[in-house]
Symmetry: D2
Subunit: 133 residues, 4 copies
């Protein structure tokens, strides 16, 4: 049975995401990791847009990214994301970014559920259930 | 007497703003033009942050950018911006971006004053006065 | 018969592409337009990465963008791009960006074929043929 | 005597760097941290552009960023960067980003000196000396 907390997403490197070294700039993967998180949540039936509309914001509180090999314009990337529940209000997303079977980037991102005013809140039960079944 | 509608601003090209051609990506100047507009308004005593807080938003409705010569990482740019009043609710910003005396980019940006709900509104009188004296 | 110079591409608005007005920042579409151009060329059998590798660079020399309605995070956009040959060394790309049947952005981008040293060169014959059949 | 390995730099949050939460997007600080590194090296007499021209590239191999409080459009940020030598070919940059005396972001970035072909090389002696005096 497929692990509901594991999600695979594909991204192609944009020209705008490259830099003068001829490779993807190290900041570019931050938006890819975000896109992978959002698609991982969608695959569980949870639209992040709908979460925000319902008053659940999930700002990033920490990122750790290790760059193992360079990526170039037009490379097609595979992002495999594992979601972990970290206590009542935090989620961790571990993403491996691979290109043609080669590990390129390891990204760990922690988000915290907060109210629109910034105060912490619990991860919604329906989302928590989807992640812990 | 200095022309209050003319403002000179400096920007240095960031590494993150370059691309695999080894030059500044053509999208990078959009944020520089925006920064120049905001500083030009500030020089007239109008903080764009304060305008937004007072309910005056100024989304961009049209841009035209001509790229005349390439810019590289670490280049120091001079942006000379001329502000024009275009009717009751629109402003035009014409910006010349130069590097070491050479014309690099010509940017024309039109913004429209709108309310937070998106409906058009007049340019605030104080700002209009600052631009037409 | 399908018009080979017309290409439809889809993009979803990233959270990173939004701004404090709650909509896609006006600079975000520059990368979408670029992605649409690259996919339009690919659909004609011309990889832009391969063009660059063969010594044909196509920097942008002019952009004109009209913003007709706002786009939000997670919106799925349809970009319909028409390619036009503008003389021996230039291509024009006219792109309509629509969201749920509503016109959001009109973008016109002109690129020029240049050698790696920046001197103009002719559009490669194979690409020109693909565009004028 | 001033610590040559400690450098203070200022940045103002651009509108383009905000997101739909109304604050600076978490990816925006990656370019600020890069700008702070480059200005810190310049303060030691080492232009990163000149380093690259001499065949010394310094790609980022790891970043860790902790987000402590939100930043908004137009905020003026103070970035205090400490440079550390990590072995023969790596440098670590620890940056505190503060806004009005409040800690906003802690960023740790590791770069590796490489040749244009990507093979590791030693940090140039002149730069190493400037950092260890």
């Amino acid at each position: 049975m497929a692990d509901p907390t594991l999600y695979t997403h594909a991204v192609r490197v944009r020209y705008a995401e490259t830099d003068a070294m001829g490779v993807a700039h190290h900041s570019s993967c931050i938006a890819w990791l975000e896109e992978a998180r959002i698609e991982a949540l969608r695959s569980l039936g949870h639209s992040y847009a709908a979460l925000e509309a319902s008053g659940v914001l999930m700002p990033v509180i920490e990122i750790n990214v290790q760059y193992r090999s360079s990526l170039r314009f037009d490379d097609v990337l595979t992002l495999v994301t594992q979601i972990e529940v970290h206590g009542p209000s935090r989620l961790g997303f571990q993403t491996r970014i691979e290109c043609e079977g080669r590990l390129a980037i390891l990204g760990h991102v922690t988000v915290a559920a907060v109210r629109p005013d910034g105060r912490p809140q619990r991860i919604p039960d329906a989302l928590r259930s989807a992640l812990t079944l």
